[in-house]
Amino acid sequence: MRDEVSEIDGKVVVKLSGDVDLEHCTVVRGLLLDAVSHGKDLLVDLSGVSYLDSSGIASLVEALQIAARNGTALKLFSASAQAMRVFELARLDKVFAIHPDLDAALAS
């Protein structure tokens, strides 16, 4: 997996790639918790995620809770059908703000 962090319009954008699962959750969790600690809104690009499991979801929920405590936003965009299905199964598809693409996430 190869993750990227950038900043657009004052928001931190993290692109996750590959399998976001228990095998890689230590790296993903560290990346998200570091990104959310900057005190800026965090946008997470899921377009490169090939597989998402409950551990990946757990890292995202933890980051979302920290963002809420910090008074910042965490938004997701470009989720694949498999990733959306996992959010739906976890009944988190209404808890997270999930946008179709970066422009929609920036505009929201």
């Binding site: 095998e23 409950s54 976890a90 988190l92």
Partner: protein, 151 residues
Amino acid sequence: MTNATSFDDTPEPAPLELLFEQRFAARLEVLKKVRASVLAGARHCGFGEADARDIVLALDEACKNILVHAYRNDEDGEIVLAVFRCQAGMVLLLRDFAPPMDPTGIKPRDLSDVRPGQLGTHFIHSIMDSVEYEPAPDGQGNLLRLMKRLE
């Protein structure tokens, strides 16, 4: 295709066709290959792409439960997976050789409490039509039987 499996002692009323059996180390890095095998098996059973990927997720979460809770991350453990096609759909038998678990303690959690973790068992129960913990054939380890029906 063969019907001879290491699960032969398991009571099974419905006729099953063994698609494949895999024995693998209880390690995270092997699960990607297991997922690919199960995806191919689900397609072979006639499941569409969405259902096939659901089955993969359920099986993957069940394997991870074994790694974390049964073997407690002891990488010397082994898992045996047998995948069957039946008239109604697909049956997966997942066996480990860890100390027996209490099945009554393995339950999905309340999802209204939004917090990280413990979603895997919920996924398994949501996706599969049947989730049964059965006695292992020789009394050692744990045996999980998962069944998914074709719509």
